[in-house]
């Protein structure tokens, strides 16, 4: 059967969905519902919440996300290389696959060094 080895994944997805929805539904079913404004206001240590709609946060979180994308894709590129490494070794092309991989790693490292020198990785400034 096509993709039949993924059947277990699908079953677990459904089980997880049922467990999550079931718990939330049960809480809604069994829980008391006695609301009043003070109880349902945002928890900010007793002070009325202010300006919640336009939260501003440090741009560094965004920069980390951007550089994560780059490095994560590069890591994923390394996976097939690592997977084929032994095959190349056994065929006597070990030095070739080693050099190719190291050039790629060097570019990756260069990117990291660049980010580092630019101060992207400093959080205490």
């Amino acid at each position: 059967m096509f993709l039949s080895e993924y059947l277990g994944v699908a079953v677990l997805l459904i089980l997880g969905l049922l467990a999550g929805c079931g718990a939330v539904a049960a809480a809604w079913l069994f829980g008391a519902k006695r609301y009043y404004p003070n109880k349902t206001s945002a928890y900010e240590c007793g002070i009325p919440s202010e300006g919640a709609e336009n939260e501003r946060f440090s741009v560094r979180f965004y920069l980390v996300a951007v550089s994560f994308i780059l490095f994560d894709i590069e890591t994923i590129f390394l996976v097939p290389w690592a997977l084929g490494f032994r095959g190349f070794l056994d065929n006597g092309h070990g030095l070739y696959i080693w050099t190719v991989g190291l050039v790629f790693l060097a570019v990756l490292t260069l990117g990291l060094v660049y980010e580092w020198r630019k101060g992207l990785l400093d959080w205490n400034t």
């Binding site: 059947l7 928890y43 939260e55 959080w123």
Partner: protein, 357 residues
């Protein structure tokens, strides 16, 4: 009639499949999570020289059950400022990746269950040949739940907590990914079963010790555990991304966290500690255990290793203080990632020269 039905190979196959799912799902959500919450609190008590929960059931073992019932019966509180749909979606989304991630964890060598099955079958729910990539992909989905929880709560503590959690989890995911590359190099496969079986002669921890040193802090950060529990730093952020959550919705986040802990422990054991093998240089076959009859011994041993690792998680939590956020990010980017890159260089060089010599 009944006998022929029971010995029908298709029936046996499906029963085996259902049994595996029931066993692992029940074990993860019904045993590991509640027992680990109890162990956490009990060990915390003992480390801090107090009792911890010891009233409900023998040794307080039923404490988690009582807490679960209590959480279910709590008021279904919905703060006025939340974004309602996403607020409800976030805890559900945190449980789903937790439930899906252990689908590819093999918990024993292929077996016939002592002759019960016609052919040896894998003790693994989904027999994916890309298990490692799958588990990386699924476990990184859990960051969505946390980001969504903070944003949907519309609370400053929550937003900050979820931002921190997202940045931390993606940063350490890189380190973990690079450490895993050297595991792939050593084992030559991304099938978790094959990775475990490649370690019968020698566990990966010996050639891959540096990779383990990178992987260990990375999985602590991935599961948001102390010393990397910055998202929940209660001294500065109340409890971070689940500040606005109460009752069972809060419980679901915790359930997912403990199940994830068990999954990453299993992964760590499969990558570095030989899976279900007995000792680093000693496989079960070598000491003369007949795995056809005693097929359950490696499985039990595997679960014992997971239990030991989970205890290590708890031990670390109540021993080490929390990092500062800038320290956390600089450990991730400036220490772990360079070490992981260096480790790939060392591992490949080792492999090339091992072959050449």
């Amino acid at each position: 009639m009944v006998e022929t039905f029971l010995s029908n190979p298709d029936f046996i196959k499906w029963a085996f499949f259902a049994g595996k799912i029931l066993l692992l799902f029940g074990l993860a959500f019904g045993v590991v999570a509640p027992v680990m919450i109890w162990v956490e609190r009990r060990v915390a008590g003992l480390i801090q020289d107090r009792y911890g929960p010891n009233r409900v059931g023998p040794f307080g073992l039923l404490q988690s059950l009582a807490d679960g019932i209590k959480l279910l019966l709590k008021e279904d509180l919905r703060p006025t400022e939340i974004r309602p749909v996403f607020y409800l979606l976030a805890p559900i989304l945190s449980v789903i990746p937790a439930a899906m991630a252990f689908a590819v964890i093999p918990f024993g060598p292929p077996t016939t269950l002592g002759g019960l099955l016609p052919t040896p079958m894998r003790l693994q729910i989904a027999e994916l040949n890309v298990g490692l990539v799958y588990v990386l992909a699924i476990s990184s989905l859990s960051v969505y739940a946390i980001a969504l929880a903070g944003w949907a709560s519309n609370n400053k503590f929550s937003v900050l907590g979820s931002l921190r959690a997202s940045a931390q989890m993606i940063s350490y995911e890189l380190a973990a990914g690079l450490a895993i590359v050297s595991v792939i190099l050593l084992s030559g496969s991304v099938d978790l079963m094959a990775i475990a079986q490649s370690q019968t002669e020698m566990w990966n921890i010996f050639p891959g010790f540096l990779a383990f040193l990178v992987f260990l802090p990375a999985i602590f950060a991935e599961t948001n555990r102390t010393p990397f529990d910055l998202p929940e730093a209660e001294a500065e952020l109340v409890v971070g991304y689940h500040t606005e959550y109460s009752g069972i919705k809060f419980g679901l986040f915790f359930l997912a966290e403990y199940v994830n802990m068990a999954t990453v422990s299993a992964l760590c054991i499969l990558f570095f500690f030989g899976g279900w093998e007995f000792l680093p240089w000693l496989s079960w076959e070598k000491i003369g255990v007949d795995l056809n009859t005693f097929w359950f011994i490696p499985t039990i041993w595997f679960f014992t290793k997971i239990a030991a690792f989970l205890f290590f998680f708890v031990w670390v939590r109540w021993t080490l203080p929390r990092f500062r956020y800038d320290q956390l990010m600089s450990i991730g980017w400036k220490t772990l990632i360079p070490i992981a890159l260096l480790n790939i260089l060392i591992t490949t060089t080792y492999l090339v020269f091992e072959k050449a010599s």
